[in-house]
Point group: C2
């Protein structure tokens, strides 16, 4: 809407941030520290967003203190080489370069907010380590990445058992409010207000049931998250996610992306998505992961989101983990996340028949795998030799659709898939929202999953909290410096 059509301002501030997840908090903090008056509109009852519900991993490297303490010699070029491949094809190279070069500083910024990281490595494969270790592998040591960049673990985790997102958001929120940013909860952005010169000059919002205008003197920063919760946008852009679980707080409805589009913003990579298959990585590594035809399709020791994308985007389902008794026993019960074998069988023929796989398919797959395992070389997918061992009867199959049941609640069968969206508004490295000609839209900024960040098609845990905060900080500083 035009500024002239807007109601009289309820409030005027320098920088208005929309959405108080990790990107919004980072933007608010840096804008406030730069001397701007800052208000953050949050439609939920309080700060946090999807970030607060996340595992809290931060993908950081290039030689952080934790990496050094654990004996890993990392540098920004190796980090760049890994992420370029793992987030690709076709990540945003300019953003990625800055992200890798600034990663050690960004890690220290988190520590300066009082967030602690243990100086120890969890040396397994997991969606979420069962420890408080501060460092974890996220696929860096798996083929082909192990040949493209010197492997170093870069998953940084705050010192807490279980999900760390809440702890992270508590510290970010505390720092932002301490710096002077105000959070207006239960306040939803409805429309952007544009002045006569075409500059974004504020937001029309609904607050406690009334429409109110927030005037922003320097800039509006959209940090509203992705769009996995908007069925129409998912159907239009990422149909592979339709009907699956949503990794979000329920409010990732693409509102910021739509606001940007309404003033002529360009978008990028709306079809990219993170995917989580309910497969226990440490079980899959000890066996094989097969598609609905009984074929292997990936080295099972990659970052779990990678085998998940490989399955859901590219392979016919359903997807099964096939292990033998020894593989099953090798994984401690708490690390099995409550999964149960769907079928246990003495022969592969029996197993494939029970699973509805084409006759002979699983026998052929395992025969090939066992020959390769015996030779110490996975000729098809190059799984690391530490995981290679011929499988022996009895066998067990775990159906990804049976999901995780870590607390023994008897989870019902689902799709086995959940995810969130990666694409969004096209932004400059400084957070300016760009139009389709590549020109900044005056007064409008974005960060986090409302924008398109460092990602191409791929995903690695910790790159959302990572690039959300990294480019959120930059967007906050840029907005604060506007005239």
């Amino acid at each position: 809407m035009t500024l002239a059509d807007a109601p009289a301002p309820f409030l005027e501030v320098d920088v208005l941030v929309v959405g108080m997840g990790c990107a919004g908090a980072a933007a608010a903090l840096e804008a406030a520290r730069a001397g701007a008056s800052v208000v953050v509109l949050e439609r939920a009852g309080g700060p946090g967003g999807s970030s607060a519900l996340s595992g809290g991993e931060l993908y950081l490297g290039g030689g952080t203190a934790v990496q050094q303490a654990c004996g890993y010699d990392d540098d920004p070029d190796q980090m760049y080489a890994y992420l370029h491949a793992a987030l690709g094809p076709h990540p945003d190279e300019e953003k990625l370069r800055l992200y890798c070069d600034g990663s050690v500083e960004h890690f220290e910024w988190f520590r300066s907010l009082g967030i602690e990281f243990r100086e120890s490595l969890y040396d397994g494969v997991s969606w979420l380590p069962p420890t408080e270790d501060g460092l974890m592998w996220l696929g860096e040591n798996a083929w082909p990445f192990s040949e493209l960049a010197r492997p170093a673990p870069r998953g940084h985790r705050p010192a807490i058992r279980g999900m760390g997102g809440k702890l992270l958001m508590d510290h970010l929120t505390e720092a932002a409010t301490a710096a002077g940013a105000e959070v207006h909860a239960d306040t939803r952005a409805l429309d952007l207000m544009v002045d006569d010169d075409g500059r974004v000059a504020g937001v029309l919002a609904r607050r406690h049931g009334s429409d109110v205008a927030y005037r922003a003197r320097r800039g509006v920063v959209l940090t509203t998250g992705g769009f996995v919760d908007d069925d129409a946008m998912v159907a239009a852009h990422v149909p592979a996610l339709i009907g699956h679980g949503k990794v979000s707080d329920g409010l990732d409805d693409g509102s910021g992306i739509r606001l940007g589009l309404s003033v002529g913003a360009a978008i990028r990579r709306l079809a990219s998505a993170q995917i989580a298959l309910t497969v226990v990585p440490s079980l899959a590594c000890r066996g094989v992961l097969v598609n609905g035809l009984g074929q292997r399709f990936v080295n099972e020791d990659v970052y779990p989101g990678r085998f998940s994308q490989a399955a859901v985007f590219h392979q016919p389902g359903p997807w099964f983990t096939i292990v033998d008794e020894k593989g099953w026993e090798d994984v401690p019960e708490p690390e099995r996340w409550g999964v149960q074998p769907v079928i246990v069988a003495e022969s592969l023929g029996e197993l494939e028949s029970e699973l509805g796989l084409p006759r002979g398919a699983l026998e052929e797959t395992v025969a090939r795998y066992n020959r390769d395992a015996a030779s110490g070389e996975d000729a098809l997918f190059h799984k690391a030799s530490r995981w290679l061992r011929p499988l022996e009867p009895p066998y067990a199959a775990i159906d990804a659709r049976d999901g995780f049941d870590p607390h023994g609640h008897g989870r019902r069968r689902g799709t086995g898939v959940s995810g969130f969206t990666l694409g969004g508004l096209r932004t400059s490295v400084d957070g300016a929202v760009l139009d389709t000609g590549g020109r900044p839209i005056p007064g409008l900024f974005a960060a986090g999953r409302a924008s398109s960040g460092i990602h191409g098609e791929g995903y690695v845990s910790g790159t959302s909290l990572g690039d959300g905060t990294f480019f959120g900080r930059r967007a906050g500083r840029t907005a604060a410096a506007e005239d």
Copy 2:
């Protein structure tokens, strides 16, 4: 730009069409027939666009005269069921329903323009039949589609040997100009002009080196084609196409999509693309198509664009056709499109070694295939039994990267892949361009590949000329009827 900022109109018309491919010609023709004054801006030297360079297939059915003459009992529901699956997942159901229900009438419309169709079927598998038959199969008789809908051939081809797009565009252009539409060639749309009420009221264009304003009293119809020729848009939305061949006239640069976005249009499915792999379908059907690991991944008798999408979007390359001597000999030389075997070998072990495939992979694939072929049932991918025969030495491999060389020019190795984009502006079934809230943008219409048509992820030949003209006609009529 605002109308106030625009130069004095060079010309005022009722309906202004931008782009004279099949959608633009159809829109111009119907708008003119409805009594509107119509000008079409075409940036090239004359009408035609990518449509004129196409094969000229029209995907039509539901019981056309040609289908009936060939003995096929088709109806709109069967056509809908096939396209819903083949263009899916998640095609535009509302558009698809109209398209199928209106298909017989649309076929008669083409005949009424003087376009002839022979009443005979080419009963093979081909990108482009070597005959003048008016009807061809486009995957309707291949699994799983043969089980989802009663198979009927629906590829309609004008009576001409080879590429039929030019003939089609000549007739469309002649009809449109005869109805009173004027084509302004060498005229490129630069910007939309918007009046004080936010209504699109014309186009600023560059014509013979000067910027001139075209005022449109009733509406502007964007029919500028897709965006495969804009490297930045391809990189942002369909990175899988980067570096590959472009199926276009070189001017499909997304300009109309960008114009729509500049006034707040929503977009849909920018990541969808048609893919053509340089594989001879009739050779692939007689052998196996394998990925870079020597694995089969599809029934080779599907519509060729489908095995192409399956390969390029979902399988590691390079992609090879493996046939035996009998299969090679069974395909008449002119139907081999000049492809040459890259390797001929007495054993599969020799072949896989020469092709750089993992040891044993091709042997396992062909052993499985031969067992299934001997039993008459392709248990993995369900290729029709007419194509199943155990392969025998000597074998030949054809590398898709070697391309077609129908005229014996010794074509150089390429990527083996070409394609074009399917996504675009979100439109109503009547051609109105919609904003992100689903509301029509007043005065703005679109059709053809500048818009998102009936497609989900999949593609079938003839659906671009088909839905481009079908919804182009509707857009032209809607624009002409505006106040």
